[in-house]
């Protein structure tokens, strides 16, 4: 069986190799801090295997995460001068290889598709080939490796350092935004242990005008939206708002259709994901990947859609569900 942990080790190993490159990159004015950040991230990926299966203490990893926060948060990380190909070199490459360049690029989604649909069902000796529940992660990983081999053979690129350098410069431009989604997952866990949900529920119940189903729908949907903006994802907001309004008021008091209320409520939260920089993996990382000067560009493009869809969700819920 191919395990997801193997790919976490591979990703961790790639981060460690890149950290080594960063350490010797004299064009980066903050090379030591940068190398420390990515080195700790790489080590954390490997060590995390044993934290996830509870065979190693999580405290050292927690301390490493706090050090990473400090390194990136207080500006000890930077980026080196990217060794990019010139416009002429890229134009020459495009002219020489033409449409063949798409083959490795499309290999990644193609292999991911095959893994998610086909290989998922395969099993050898009663064991599934791909670890159950991790087919998407594994498909992406296997697809990238196949594409890398295919690309290097096709382009007659002998040195593995070339793709690693190219990938590293993209990672450096993302910087701290890479760590934020994982940190938010942690914050959600701490919030639920500390009982934040119960407090939010009390506040919401206090402000909720009694007797109006429409007002309750608005409070549920807008609450999902706002709490998602703060937490960066709808998953953290859902248990809180559902325990506060969704279930006791909309389902029990107004006899709403539970499936409709909850499904649409979650989607109201997703509208919040579209407008918050906290959802770094959807909004800030793409801005870095696309080399935008305005890191809020994607959010600005999404705000009108998010607000219209929030109104749609309120209308759908009050029209059909309650």
């Amino acid at each position: 069986m191919i395990k997801a942990e193997w790919f976490f080790w591979l990703v961790g190993g790639v981060f460690l190799v890149m950290a080594g490159q960063m350490l010797t990159d004299r064009t980066n004015p903050r090379r030591f801090g940068t190398a420390a950040f990515w080195g700790l991230l790489g080590l954390g990926f490997v060590y995390g295997t044993w934290v996830a299966d509870k065979s190693a203490p999580p405290e050292p990893l927690g301390a490493a995460v706090l050090v990473m926060i400090g390194l990136a948060g207080f500006g000890f990380t930077g980026r080196g001068g990217a060794r990019v190909a010139t416009d002429e070199q890229r134009a020459a490459g495009a002219a020489r290889f033409g449409g063949r360049l798409f083959v490795p690029a499309l290999t990644i989604p193609a292999v991911a598709l095959i893994c998610a649909v086909g290989v998922k069902r395969l099993s050898v000796g009663g064991e599934p080939v791909l670890q159950k529940g991790s087919e998407t992660v594994l498909g992406l990983g296997i697809g990238s490796l196949v594409a890398l081999v295919l690309g290097m053979v096709m382009l007659r690129e002998r040195s593995l350092a070339t793709p690693l350098h190219a990938g590293r410069s993209m990672l450096e431009s993302m910087g701290w935004a890479m760590l934020l989604p994982q940190l938010l997952a942690t914050l959600g866990a701490i919030f639920s242990v500390a009982g934040v949900g119960e407090q939010v529920r009390r506040v919401t119940t206090a402000v909720l005008p009694g007797g109006s189903a429409f007002a309750a729908v608005v409070v549920y949907c807008v609450g999902m939206f706002l709490f998602t903006v703060v937490m960066g994802n709808g998953f953290a907001a859902f248990p809180v708002m559902t325990a506060a309004v969704g279930w006791p008021v909309l389902v029990e008091q107004f006899h709403g259709n539970a499936a409709a209320v909850l499904a649409v409520g979650m989607l109201a939260g997703f509208c919040g994901t579209l407008v918050t920089p906290m959802a770094a993996n959807y909004n800030l990382v793409p801005a870095a990947l696309l080399e935008l000067k305005d890191q809020y560009g994607p959010i600005k493009a999404q705000i009108p859609t998010a607000l219209i869809l929030l109104a749609c969700n309120i209308a759908i819920m009050s029209g059909f569900a309650v």
Partner: protein
């Protein structure tokens, strides 16, 4: 009420434009300590949270091969390819991408398309190529706009497509939470069906906004050109 300080820390950090890593880290520590965790338990929470969420960061594995292909002109070739299809404007192309992203996500194929593997190397340059053929060379602002909308098409398609699929994380989160907390029995299929109306709204709303992108680009570029010409005249006048 004290634990709500953590939420206040996030909001205040936002408002003061502090680095989000520091804000979220501080909010976690403050909430944990006020909520009765020992410092050691707070450290453990950070460690466990990191270990269990590593899958979010795995997309980094696609970057080396994407970077390699880009050195050999992948983006340039994507731009060339799109100009062969007459009538394919930036807006129409991105609306098609939105539809494709939403349809694949609705089939449970979330990881097939994405920002690292398809938007940066393919979708964004193709949209730029189509815009350049229609409007001529793009200014910096127009280019940013096209790229931002390319990212938005991926996000909207994913968010409002995936819930139509039964086995996706958010649907399982809903059934898991409700079935254990309220001792009821919700079927994933019912939840997925109720995601369809919003999915159609999302396709209509964002698709329409993407189709309007061509007009917005034409207007922006015309304005910037007039401004440039006017600026040129003024400078000219000042010399004489």
């Amino acid at each position: 009420m004290l634990v709500l300080v953590g939420v206040a820390v996030v909001v205040a950090g936002f408002a003061l434009r502090r680095n989000p890593l520091l804000v979220v880290g501080a909010a976690g520590i403050v909430t944990g300590l006020l909520g009765g965790l020992s410092p050691r338990e707070v450290l453990a929470a950070f460690g466990t949270g990191f270990a269990n969420s590593r899958a979010v960061t795995v997309f980094a594995i696609t970057l080396p091969v994407i970077g390699l292909l880009e050195r050999y002109g992948l983006q340039e070739q994507a731009r060339v390819l799109v100009t062969r299809f007459a009538g394919l404007t930036a807006g129409r192309f991105l609306a098609l991408y939105l539809l494709l992203r939403q349809a694949t996500a609705a089939l449970g194929l979330n990881g097939v398309l994405g920002h690292a593997q398809t938007v940066r190397p393919l979708a964004a340059p193709m949209a730029e190529g189509a815009a350049e053929r229609r409007h001529g060379p793009l200014t910096g602002r127009a280019r940013e706009k096209v790229r931002s909308f390319a990212a938005s098409a991926d996000n909207v398609g994913l968010f409002f497509g995936e819930d139509v699929f039964l086995a996706v994380g958010s649907i399982l989160l809903i059934t898991g939470f409700v079935n254990t907390t309220y001792h009821t029995h919700l079927e994933p299929l019912d939840l997925a069906l109720w995601a369809v109306p919003t999915a159609l709204c999302a396709l209509a709303v964002h698709g329409w906004r993407l189709l309007r992108l061509d007009r917005a680009l034409a207007r922006d570029l015309a304005q910037e050109r007039t401004a440039a010409v006017a600026g040129g005249v003024a400078k000219d006048g000042a010399v004489r």
